[in-house]
């Protein structure tokens, strides 16, 4: 079953004198992601992978095209509905060290999504957080530290834990492993696969590391200069 499909997605940037110069960051991309499966998206840096991801999450407005999530057009979603969308699709960033507010303790960072969406009463927070860190296999001692006191791998687990608190159906993983060393990479990827099996999450897995993508993905799309040039 198709969970998310994007149709003819375009993002043009205009720059130069009188906005005459047109840069086609994304130029007519179609993708389809099935429920509980992983779509790998590979390509050189600057080919528009991350832009596609941010458009899907509605962090950037597309110039043209449609995003259909759960058979519903979310391209023009606003207000309350857009806020609820945040519970269903989430993103994990490349650099775990900048993905968390340096002034926020891990405990608060993990609970932040729940607090924003008012999904958990204050007295149940501790219970909930223990469950979450158990899923991602994180030590309880780390909860009351600041992000800079944790390693990259630990931080990426924290990021995953805070996203899982919302029970998303779809996660964009934007080069999640490129800043980690190989051993930790394998751990994080295994964790992501486990979660997929247990919770039926779909991933859009963005990377430029072909080996990793092949291992993670059910299907692979190759992007170049804003277009999908190949399918595997």
């Amino acid at each position: 079953m198709t969970l998310l499909s994007i149709k003819n997605l375009k993002k043009y940037y205009f720059c130069g004198l009188f906005n005459k110069k047109e840069i086609r960051a994304v130029d007519g991309v179609d993708l389809e992601i099935k429920s509980g499966r992983t779509l790998g998206l590979v390509g050189n840096s600057g080919c528009g992978k991350t832009t596609v991801a941010k458009i899907i999450l509605r962090l950037i407005e597309p110039t043209d095209g449609r995003i259909i999530f759960k058979e519903k057009d979310i391209t023009k979603l606003r207000g309350r509905e857009l806020k609820n969308l945040g519970q269903e699709m989430q993103i994990i960033f490349q650099n775990p060290e900048t993905s968390l507010n340096p002034r926020m303790k891990i405990y608060d960072a993990i609970l932040e999504p729940l607090r924003i969406h008012k999904l958990c009463s204050t007295d149940k927070e501790y219970e909930k957080i223990l469950k979450l860190i158990e899923i991602v296999n994180l030590n309880q001692e780390l909860l009351f530290r600041y992000p800079h006191e944790l390693s990259g791998g630990q931080l990426q687990r924290v990021v995953i834990a805070r996203i899982l608190s919302l029970n998303p159906k779809f996660i964009v993983a934007d080069e999640v492993t490129s800043m980690l060393d190989p051993l930790v990479q394998a751990q994080i990827l295994n964790l992501m696969k486990d979660l997929q099996e247990k919770l039926g999450i779909s991933y859009l897995f963005i990377s430029h590391d072909m080996d990793v993508v092949e291992w993670m993905s059910d299907e692979i799309a190759v992007m170049d200069e804003g277009k999908i040039v190949d399918w595997k």
Binding site: Q90, I91, F93, Q94, S99, R103, E112, H117
Partner: protein, 288 residues
């Protein structure tokens, strides 16, 4: 509390920096003097004893007396209250207003940013003291009007500082992440951007207290600030000018008081900046 913890660490570090420690100690001392003024002063600062006018420093009057026979020592002690009150009030108001505008400006960009920054440019186009003089001149001399005049001239510094920090912060992943969580803009500004701007704001505020005190005493000295008989350092300085040749202590002691206070805040601010500034960027990333 989270933020406070960090600031306590910085204060501990401040202990290692000698200049900052001296500055900090003087600031604490001045604060105590201001609070305990009525206990510390040997005489009533308003009491005139004309038979004792223009006395040189002696045992009964440690800093001598002025042209109306008032104890300069007591007046200086009470003057601490006005200087510190003006410095703290002005910095409190300007830091609050300037920071809010800076965060909104840097975060929203576009037309709002454009409007706020043009207003900042207009205020900065005038030399601060002249603008303050004009405003104080129009409003008339009083404590409140000095605070208004100084606040209106001092806020742009915070707006520019905070706007710059916000512009770098807003591109960082954790802000994108918060947006993906669909946090409201106000939430992001309050919980994510503000806490990461606080260290440089504290440095600027400390240095700004010194600046505000100098401006306030300058306004009083020119007759546009706090009026006699209120024992304010600037107006005491002004009152001493006619007697400069026969009784220099009338101007020497208020002048020294202003200098020491301003230097103390400057030392403290510079010390704090040395601790924070060289790694402002790491400070955003690694808050310690």
């Amino acid at each position: 509390m989270k933020i406070l913890n960090n600031e306590i660490n910085i204060l501990k570090e401040a202990g290692n920096n000698r200049m900052a420690a001296i500055g900090g100690a003087i600031v604490i001392m001045l604060t105590l003097i201001a609070i305990l003024a009525s206990l510390l002063s040997p005489h009533d600062p308003f009491e005139q004893k004309l038979e004792n006018r223009l006395l040189n420093p002696c045992f009964e009057y440690p800093f001598g007396t002025d042209d109306l026979g008032r104890c300069i020592f007591s007046r200086l002690i009470f003057g601490t209250r006005y200087s510190l009150a003006i410095g703290v009030t002005v910095v409190g108001i300007t830091a609050l207003v300037g920071t809010s505008l800076g965060i909104v400006s840097g975060y929203s960009r576009g037309i709002i940013d454009e409007i706020i920054m043009r207003i900042v440019d207009i205020v900065l186009a005038f030399p601060g003291i002249i603008l303050a003089l004009v405003i104080a001149g129009i409003l008339g001399p009083s404590f409140l009007n000095v605070v208004i005049a100084l606040s209106l001239t001092h806020w742009p510094a915070y707006t520019r500082l905070v706007r710059g920090l916000t512009l770098t912060l807003r591109e960082m992943d954790f802000i994108e992440g918060a947006k993906a969580l669909r946090a409201s803009n106000i939430y992001i500004m309050r919980r994510h951007i503000l806490p990461n701007c606080i260290n440089p704001i504290i440095v600027l505020a400390t240095l700004d207290i010194a600046h505000a005190i100098i401006f306030a005493t300058a306004l009083s000295f020119l007759g546009l600030g706090i009026q006699p008989p209120t024992p304010e350092w600037g107006s005491m300085l002004k009152a001493g000018i006619p007697y400069f040749r026969i009784s220099p202590h009338l101007t020497f002691f208020p002048g020294t008081a202003i200098m020491v206070t301003v230097l103390a805040f400057n030392f403290l601010g510079d010390g704090l900046r040395d601790m924070i500034d060289p790694k402002i960027n790491e400070n955003i990333l690694v808050s310690e």
